[in-house]
Amino acid sequence: MIKVKNLYHSYSNDDNYAVKDVSFEVTKGEIFGFLGPSGAGKSTTQNILTGLLELQKGEVSVAGYDIKKIIPKMFNKIGMSFEQSNVYSKLTAKENLEFYRKLFDVKTRNPDELLRLVGLKGKENKKTGDFSKGMKHRLTFARSMINNPELWFLDEPTTGLDPAIASEIKNIIKEQNDKGVTIFLTTHNMYIAEELCNRVAFIIDGEIKLIDSPKNLKLQYGDKLVEVEYIENGNLIQETFSTVIKSDKKKLQNLIGKHEIQTMHTKEATLEEIFIKVTGRRLV
């Protein structure tokens, strides 16, 4: 569904790359997670894939179309939910969807049905300028599936939503995927990624560090994580070490030799911890 080979992008048109030598593939029917801290280059990559940003260097094909020469027809097949909601604030929720659906050549979904799906029933005829942030976000999300996309780009679909609604959104994503929709999911939220994604890519400073399934990552790092509490200069310090990464093993040996250990136990790594271990960076 998506093929990316040696993708580079520089906003300043020089060697200062926001995205560097990124390559990956997303297969049909997959939920592919794009994980990384703020400024890693997630949105940049996604915007190149959807044609919002010009392709400077590299080869990209999306839904069977070469991104070098985008033809308008391609957009009938893809949908995108923006990180920052962008709807007409002077139109009502329903008017927004009614207008947007007319811009496609394919069969579109019923606006009322979509609004009900994202919990905006009863708010159809309210001007979105009077919507809360979360409501606008849900409308943007609903709009992204109006053309029954085969390939669905989701940029932070659950950020800023209350847990009940976030869980509804998660279910909608699952349902769409069950119907065969391929999903490219960009997020900070490791729990969502862990639960939804077939595979995840870790991206830092514009480079992909690793691509694997959450399951494999857990198998690899799962029980081999040690949480240690020790005392240094009179302070209690807590740290987590992998027992497979060489440098971690060294540090752990050092620690046991030099400090007084309070507690020490192995535990299952969360995706977030694996991310930190692999990339040496936190997610937020």
């Binding site: 959807t50 919002l52 009938n76 923006f82 920052q84 207008f99 811009l103 050549d105 053309n147």
Partner: protein
């Protein structure tokens, strides 16, 4: 493509009809027309109005109709009250062997002179072919103020079209919705065309309303619309650019006001400056548009002339377009 253009236009219209500022822009042509009528009373027409007695001398009526707008009345009393009405109309009435002219007293001198001359010509049996010189000469004596005001107002309305577009583009920018449109099969060209329609329609309908209310109904509408169309193109371009460059409706509308400068300069140059200065205004599309409108409104414009003026406006606007197009395209990314 057409379906999408219409959808974009309908959306703009829906938003504009609910918004105070754009609603105000919609009614400005009507306000202009009313203001022009108020400020230039008595000059309702570029032709002369004559009141005659019905059935008194049909041959004379036929003759006068070639040169003036003739109204027929059954008796002298009706004619009297008609002449007393606010606009400039004089009566030519029989007086035994001869004819006399009845006027209200406030008509321009030229109107009376014209009626006298016309009457003499009729009696001397001078035909329309012989009288060309006199007719043209007379035209200059009609106060051209109303025509000038209508002409300027038409160009002004075309600029309002640009303003409306700027307002609608600012809306898309502030709501950040252009990126959402870019993710549909809507091409940039379709989007630009769709967004242009409302400005173009405002210019066209606004001009029509204006000339109907101010009484220029008998001008050649196709010629008029041609000039309106080409002169609006420039305003639309500027509307797009200012919409993309501003995040605030008032700022965008404000920068479009800059267009009034060349508009006024063009109009003043034509009306006030001697021939030798004219060439310094050839770069100005409004200069040619004003000339074109003038030819249409005074009904002296041949098609060749109108086409020439329109082409000049079009060529100059194209130059501006070539300069601005990359910026517009970039702004829509």
């Amino acid at each position: 493509m057409l379906r999408r253009i219409i959808s974009i236009f309908k959306r703009d219209l829906k938003v504009n009809l609910k918004d105070f500022i754009s609603l105000y822009i919609f009614v400005i042509p009507v306000l202009f027309a009313i203001a022009i009528n108020l400020f230039t009373p008595g000059i309702n027409d570029t032709t002369i109005n004559l009141a005659l007695l019905e059935g008194e001398n049909p041959e004379q009526v036929r003759y006068f109709k070639d040169f003036a707008k003739v109204e027929l009345f059954g008796d002298i009393d009706n004619i009297k009250s008609r002449v007393k009405a606010r606009d400039d109309i004089v009566a030519i009435l029989p007086n035994q062997e001869n004819y006399y002219i009845m006027s209200q007293g406030n008509e321009p001198k030229g109107v009376i002179e014209f009626a006298k001359i016309l009457n003499s010509f009729y009696q001397l049996d001078i035909q329309i072919e012989d009288t060309n010189v006199e007719i043209k000469d007379f035209k200059r004596t009609i106060p051209p103020l109303k025509k000038q005001l209508v002409n300027t107002a038409i160009l002004f309305i075309s600029i309002l079209g640009g303003m409306l577009i700027a307002i609608n583009i600012v809306e898309e920018k502030v709501d950040n919705t252009i990126s959402a449109i870019n993710l549909t099969p809507t091409t940039r060209k379709t989007f630009i065309l769709g967004k242009s329609i409302i400005g173009l329609l405002l210019a066209i309908f606004g001009s029509l309303v204006l000339i109907f209310i101010t009484g220029f109904t008998d001008t050649n509408l196709i010629q008029l619309l041609m000039i309106v169309f080409v002169s609006t193109l420039l305003s639309l371009l500027v509307g797009f650019i200012q919409g993309l460059n501003n995040d605030d409706i008032m700022n965008a509308a404000g920068s479009i006001k800059l267009l009034f400068l060349p508009l006024i300069a063009g109009a003043l140059a034509i009306e006030l400056l001697a021939d030798k200065w004219q060439k310094f205004f050839y770069w100005n599309p409004f200069y040619w548009a004003y000339k074109g409108n003038d030819a249409v409104l005074s009904k002296t414009g041949s098609w060749k002339e109108i086409l020439f003026y329109s082409s000049m406006v079009l060529i100059l606007s194209t130059v501006v377009y070539l300069f601005l197009a990359p910026k517009i395209r970039k702004g829509l990314e």
